[in-house]
C-alpha cells in the first residue's frame, strides 16, 4: 500500500516551473531578530527586535525605560559588536550604574569592552543639534557598535533644539536614523513622551519600532503595561501587555500567553478523570472529562476546597502530577488541612509531583498569574490543576486588572486547558433563597462543567447537598444528593431523596413521611487533626 502510494506520487507528472516565476523570486532579506533579554517580550515582539531597526522606548518617568534599554544592551553586547550607550542630562550616569547593577542581568565584565557609556551632556548643553550629531557619529565610528542607545533622547532634542526650526529637527532625526542604520546599528532612543506627542513629533514617524511603557496607579496598586505601537517588518502581538519589574529587571506577560496554536496541546479525548469521590463520579457519568474546566460553586463552608483536594489527591494517587493555585490560604495551611481530611500531600509535594502555588495577592495581573501557573505546569508536567478560588483570584489582582476580569479569565482558561491540564476552579457564591446562582462573575460560559454545592435546612439542621448542573461533554445525573464532610473528606451519603421538594431553594418542603427523629450527634463532625 505504501509502495503503491509512493509509485503514484512518483508517476504524477511534475508541474513545469514557470520560468517567469523563477526569475521574479529573488530571496527575501532575512531580518535577524535580537533578543531583548526580557522574559516574555520576544514573544510579544514576534521573535525579538529587528536588527538594524531604529526604535523608541517611550513612557512616563519611572516606568522602566532605562531598565529595558539596559536589558537589551546586556543581552546583546559583545566585545566584537559592542553597545554604545549615550547618556544625556537626566539621571546622572554614576547613579544609573549604581542602580542598574542591582539587577541580575547587569554583568560587570561587559562594561568597557562590550558596553561603553558615553556622556553627551556637555555637547548638548553647550552646542547645537549638528554638534550632537557629529559627536554621536564620531563615537559610533570609533566603537562600531551593534547597538546604540540614547538616553534620554528627548533631553537631547529639547536642549539642543532650542532655537532650531521644525525642519532642522526633522533633518537631525533623519540624518541620525540614516547614519546609525548605515553603520549597522540597532538603535533605541529612550524618551519621556506622552501619547499625544505621537501625532506631531517627527521621531515617531521615522521610528521602525515604538515601545510604550506605562504605569497606572489605581487605589493602592500600580499596574505596569507595555504596548508595541509599531514594529516594522514583523507581526507583534497587539494590545496592552502587563509587565513587572523585579530583581531580574522587566518581565513581560503577553496577552496571548499560551494561546498560540503551537503551544496548544490541549486534551479533548473522552477519558474520564475520577474526582476521588466515587458517588460524584457516578453522578458525572464516570467522572470529569480530561481537558475540561470544571467550576465548583457554593457558599462558604460547603466543602469546595475539600472537593478540589479530592480531585488533586486522586490524580496524584494515579500518578498524575498536579498544581494547586491558592489565593486565600498559605500552602502549609492547605497541606495540613488536606491531611486532616485524610489526604496526604506532603510526599508528592516533596517528590515534585505536586506544586502548591501561593500567588502573592493584591497587585497581580491575570497574565502574570497565567504565566506562573503555566511555568509550574511545565515544570511538574501537571495533568490536574485547581484554582482555589475565583474570589481570592480576583482579590489578588490590582484594581485596574479587575475591570477586565471576565475577558482575562477567558484567556487564562483557554491557555491553561491548551496546556493539557484539566482544571477545577472553586467559586464562592452567596446562597439566597430564591434562586440558584453559579457564580457572581457570569463566567459559567467559560466552564465545561458546573457542580453546585448548597446548604439546606432539613429537620432542624443545616445540611449540604450537591448537584451536577452542567456537563458539556455528555449526560449527567440530575439528582440532588446530600453529602457530609468527615475526616475521610467529602462523602456523598444518601441516595436522591424524594421526600422533599424545592431543595435548591435551601428551604425545602417535606412531601414524604417524617421518620422518627432520634437525638443524634451532628452528622458531620469537624476534622480534628
Amino acid at each position: 500500500m505504501k509502495t503503491e502510494a509512493i509509485m503514484k506520487k512518483q508517476s504524477r507528472p511534475t508541474k513545469p516551473a514557470s520560468p517567469k516565476k523563477v526569475r521574479n523570486q529573488p530571496a527575501k532579506v532575512t531580518i535577524r531578530k535580537l533578543p531583548t533579554g526580557v522574559r516574555g517580550l520576544d514573544e510579544i515582539l514576534g521573535g525579538g527586535v529587528p536588527e538594524l531597526s531604529f526604535n523608541i522606548i517611550a513612557g512616563t518617568p519611572g516606568c522602566g525605560k532605562t531598565t529595558l534599554a539596559h536589558q537589551i544592551v546586556f543581552a546583546n553586547a559583545t566585545p566584537r559588536k559592542p553597545a554604545l550607550y549615550f547618556t544625556v542630562l537626566g539621571e546622572p550616569a554614576i547613579k544609573m550604574l549604581r542602580y542598574q547593577q542591582q539587577y541580575s542581568f547587569f554583568d560587570q565584565s561587559k562594561l568597557g569592552q562590550a558596553i561603553r557609556f558615553f556622556n553627551l551632556s556637555d555637547v548638548v548643553t553647550e552646542q547645537d543639534l549638528n554638534a550632537v550629531l557629529e559627536e554621536i557619529i564620531r563615537q559610533v565610528k570609533a566603537s562600531n557598535p551593534g547597538i546604540v542607545v540614547v538616553d534620554s533622547f528627548r533631553t537631547v532634542v529639547r536642549k539642543a533644539a532650542a532655537g532650531a526650526s521644525e525642519g532642522d529637527m526633522q533633518m537631525f532625526i533623519q540624518r541620525l536614523a540614516q547614519f546609525l542604520t548605515s553603520w549597522e546599528a540597532t538603535t533605541f532612543l529612550v524618551g519621556e513622551y506622552v501619547p499625544e506627542e505621537m501625532r506631531d513629533n517627527p521621531v515617531f514617524t521615522v521610528a521602525d519600532g515604538l515601545f510604550w511603557l506605562s504605569q497606572v496607579t489605581e487605589r493602592n496598586s500600580v499596574g505596569r503595561k507595555l504596548q508595541v505601537f509599531k514594529l516594522r517588518g514583523q507581526a507583534s502581538v497587539p494590545g496592552l501587555h502587563t509587565f513587572r519589574i523585579d530583581d531580574d529587571g522587566l518581565q513581560a506577560f503577553s496577552r496571548s500567553l499560551g494561546m498560540n496554536s503551537k503551544d496548544m496541546n490541549g486534551l479533548r479525548g473522552r477519558r474520564r478523570l475520577s474526582t476521588g469521590i466515587p458517588e460524584l463520579d457516578q453522578m458525572m457519568n464516570g467522572g470529569l472529562i480530561e481537558g475540561d474546566s470544571l467550576l465548583v460553586a457554593g457558599p462558604s463552608g460547603t466543602g469546595k476546597s475539600a472537593l478540589a483536594t479530592h480531585f488533586i489527591a486522586e490524580g496524584l494517587r494515579r500518578g498524575e502530577a498536579a498544581i494547586v493555585a491558592l489565593f486565600e490560604e498559605r500552602p502549609q495551611g492547605y497541606v495540613d488541612r488536606a491531611a486532616s481530611l485524610g489526604m496526604h500531600l506532603k510526599t508528592p509535594q516533596q517528590k515534585g509531583k505536586l506544586e502548591v502555588l501561593y500567588l502573592r495577592p493584591l497587585d497581580l495581573s491575570v497574565d502574570e498569574i497565567t504565566h506562573e501557573i503555566l511555568e509550574a505546569i511545565r515544570q511538574v508536567g501537571a495533568k490536574r490543576l485547581v484554582i482555589d478560588s475565583l474570589v481570592g483570584f480576583e482579590m489578588a489582582l490590582a484594581p485596574g486588572f479587575r475591570e477586565d476580569f471576565r475577558e482575562s479569565l477567558y484567556r487564562m482558561i483557554v491557555a491553561l486547558t491548551g496546556a493539557g491540564v484539566t482544571i477545577l476552579t472553586t467559586v464562592e457564591v452567596e446562597d439566597n433563597f430564591t434562586s440558584l446562582q453559579y457564580s457572581h462573575y457570569t463566567v459559567s460560559f467559560l466552564t465545561d462543567d458546573i457542580i453546585r454545592l448548597r446548604s439546606v435546612e432539613i429537620d432542624g439542621q443545616l445540611r449540604k447537598v450537591i448537584a451536577v448542573i452542567k456537563m458539556r461533554g455528555g449526560n449527567h445525573s440530575k439528582d440532588i444528593r446530600e453529602y457530609v464532610i468527615t475526616d475521610k473528606g467529602v462523602v456523598v451519603i444518601h441516595p436522591r431523596s424524594t421526600d422533599y421538594e424545592r431543595l435548591i431553594t435551601g428551604i425545602p418542603t417535606r412531601t414524604g413521611p417524617r421518620p422518627p427523629q432520634a437525638d443524634e450527634a451532628a452528622p458531620e463532625p469537624k476534622a480534628t487533626k
Partner: protein, 138 residues
C-alpha cells in the same frame, strides 16, 4: 583607601612617558581618572564628584582648601602649589584627594565596579589584595 591611592600614585611616579607627565605625579591619578570617568559621567558630572572629594580632603590636608577645579574638571595651579609646598605635604594632598575620590566611587557604584574602572586606567597595577571594608573611605 589610602593604600589604594598610594599604590596608584606610586605607579604614576615611575611613569614619565604616558599622558599627563607634566602634571605632578601625586595628582596625575585624579587627572587620569577624570579622562576616563568624564566619558560616561560628563565633565560636569566628574567635576561635582571631584569637588566633593576635595571638600572632604581639605578637612585632613588644609592647603587643599585653596585648590580650585576648572570648568572641565582638571585641578588648577598644581605646579605652583608643588613649588611652594613641602614635598611630603604636597604628595599627601594628592594621596588624600585620590583616596576620597576612590572612596566616593566605591560608595556610589561599589568596590567591584570601581576596581573595574581603575583597571581600565591602570591595567598593570595589582589590586586584588585591596580591602574595601565598610567605613574605609578616607
Amino acid at each position: 583607601m589610602r593604600n589604594f591611592a598610594r599604590r596608584l600614585i606610586g605607579q604614576e611616579a615611575g611613569d614619565t612617558k604616558s599622558y599627563g607627565a607634566q602634571i605632578p605625579a601625586a595628582f596625575r591619578g585624579c587627572e587620569k581618572l577624570r579622562l576616563h570617568l568624564a566619558t560616561f559621567m560628563g565633565n560636569a558630572g566628574f567635576r561635582t564628584v571631584l569637588a566633593r572629594a576635595l571638600a572632604l580632603s581639605a578637612r585632613e590636608v588644609p592647603w587643599l582648601r585653596v585648590v580650585r577645579i576648572k570648568t572641565d574638571g582638571p585641578l588648577e595651579r598644581l605646579d605652583e602649589f608643588e613649588a611652594q609646598l613641602d614635598r611630603n605635604d604636597f604628595t599627601e594632598g594628592g594621596e588624600v584627594l585620590l583616596a576620597h575620590l576612590l572612596g566616593l566611587l566605591v560608595a556610589f557604584i561599589g568596590a567591584s565596579l570601581t576596581l573595574r574602572l581603575v583597571r581600565d586606567v591602570w591595567p598593570k597595577v595589582p589590586l586584588d589584595d585591596l580591602d574595601f571594608g565598610e567605613g574605609n573611605r578616607g
